[in-house]
């Protein structure tokens, strides 16, 4: 199958290649009737511009890079799906590029990729998106960046995020409304800026209720299951036990829950356990986890939308899209038994 080129289309439509180019790129200055007839020929011949030729001559490609830290977690996967969907709708393609700060050659690897790919845009996720040095590299290569849920260098690029602090406050208020006063908190991985924001939201609500959680009720986790389990063991081995535990993500909440189960502590009768994310596993727990639904799919979708529209339009003051979350109440939280 010999691919159809812009020349073929031009000949058939009786115009110059340049005019076809204008039409497929939606540029102005084409007589409506010509625009239409060219569009018809494009459709008839099922013409698709060669992305490489475009990239080569315009030095800007139709590829959008999605940059992740090493682990491809469930969080990243959903963002990716949203990004793929919108990229497709906008005629772009998504290239996945891992960035591993642990490797000493991450800079060269990144520069290699930027050289080779001439990206039309880049989407950076947390936690890598907070590193100034990384942003500098993209700047230097003139690649437009949109960040998802950044926590530092906030003025530097357009971004898409939800309000973690508000969400954590809502969750804490949910527990308070159930009568809980002795609420433990499991912090997330400190390299993710969201960890701090979730902690602050929790703290806001507690303070507003006239409470201040003592240090032994605040555990340091790293967002992984194991750290939640360890935190749960530590919390449940104390007397008295907290009546509720708020873990900064679902995976840790599941760890806390398993720790409770292994000690025959009934959830939610003896202890309420809540998470954050609404990951798939939130529904695989028993009872199912009360949690905060993050708009991950929408974050990916909006990020692509933003990075494409940004290029070309005037970006007066980097835009920031804030997406709504949702408090999802399931079986793992219930009224406080102790009064």
């Amino acid at each position: 199958m010999k691919p159809i080129t812009i020349k073929d289309v031009a000949e058939r439509a009786g115009v110059s290649p340049k005019t076809v180019s204008r039409v497929i790129n939606g540029e102005a200055h084409v007589r409506p009737e010509i625009r239409e007839s060219v569009a018809r020929v494009v459709a008839d011949m099922n013409y698709r511009p060669n992305a490489f030729a475009r990239g080569l001559s315009s030095s800007r490609s139709f590829l959008v890079g999605l940059f992740f830290d090493d682990p491809v977690s469930g969080y990243a996967a959903t963002i990716q799906r949203g990004a793929l969907e919108q990229a497709r709708a906008m005629g772009r393609h998504i290239v996945i590029e891992p960035i591993t700060f642990q490797r000493s050659d991450w800079r060269e690897r990144l520069v290699d990729s930027l050289h080779a790919l001439r990206l039309g845009g880049a989407i950076l996720t947390s936690p890598i998106c907070d590193r100034a040095e990384l942003l500098d590299i993209f700047d230097r290569h003139d690649v437009p960046v949109v960040r998802i849920a950044p926590g530092a260098e906030l003025e530097r690029t357009p971004q898409v995020r939800m309000d973690d602090r508000d969400a954590a406050r809502d969750m804490a208020e949910h527990l308070l409304a159930l009568g809980h006063r002795d609420i433990a908190f499991v912090r997330g991985n400190p390299t993710h800026s969201a960890s701090e924001r979730r902690w602050l939201g929790f703290h806001d609500a507690m303070t507003a209720a006239g409470l201040s959680p003592p240090p032994e009720r605040v555990m340091q986790g790293d967002f992984r299951f194991r750290s939640g389990f360890d935190a749960g063991e530590a919390l449940f081995d104390r007397h008295p036990r907290p009546t509720a535990v708020f873990a900064s993500n679902d995976e840790m909440a599941l760890g806390v829950m398993i720790a409770a189960m292994s000690r025959q502590i009934a959830v939610p009768r003896a202890v309420s356990i809540v998470g954050f994310d609404d990951a798939e596993i939130a529904r695989m727990a028993w009872p199912q986890l009360t949690t905060i639904r993050q708009p991950n799919y929408a974050l990916g979708w909006e990020a692509v939308d933003l990075v494409i529209h940004q290029h070309g339009t005037n970006t007066t003051g980097d835009p920031c899209r804030i997406l709504p979350y949702e408090l999802v109440i399931r079986g793992s939280s219930g009224p406080c038994a102790v009064s």
Copy 2:
């Protein structure tokens, strides 16, 4: 930053662009001393060939497409990581393309992508890799394909896989060795060919032990948590209950486990429950799941390796790489109490 071109390198090295091209592509017919000196200049100038120019002139790109069915599951994520790592090592980049048969326009979307991207290779995962019509499209566009764990059209392309049947047999033998005789089986999603292979492996072992599971011990699932839960409920509501349940993947095994827990059936004392995959959640269950570790990372890695090497070398008889699995025994399986 003005990018360095092959011309710059050629001038500095005192050779023609063509010679530089030969060196960076590892072609033969360059005097060793020239090769070396050119390589040195390339390194000194930190030259990176423009992937678009390469793609345009050779009509073969340095992009490898990774094609997935809609859901980006944990399974897919690990494959992706392996693929990314090896792609990077081979100077290729991974473009992710979703394929959704549910959409009536999936063919046009695919053709669009193949047109635009001129992929240097494509990796297809299960279950989409079994559709002949899809393979035809890749053939027509002359894109080399490697499939991961295909179940149909086995002679058509090189492939990478593990032996699901052997693995399932091993798992069943593990349960038999623990004294179990009344073993239920939860089948996977029938659109995945692995479902059938796992069932056959289970059946092999049972038959060899002189057993044949009655129909009411065989449940149909779809690889998702919910179907495992439903299967568990159905199994545990019968009397007598099976003493062991083998679910075709971990997510369903977790569902079975939750069903057991919700009925106060102790695992593994009263019933052993085992899965397949060694997904992350296998370790988040309590007790942790006995399962089969699939070499997903290696599958992704090998698939990229194969699709790149395939192009150019003589592929006498499509190669098939079979990767080892591992039986991982954890807490969810134990001796049969009933004798």
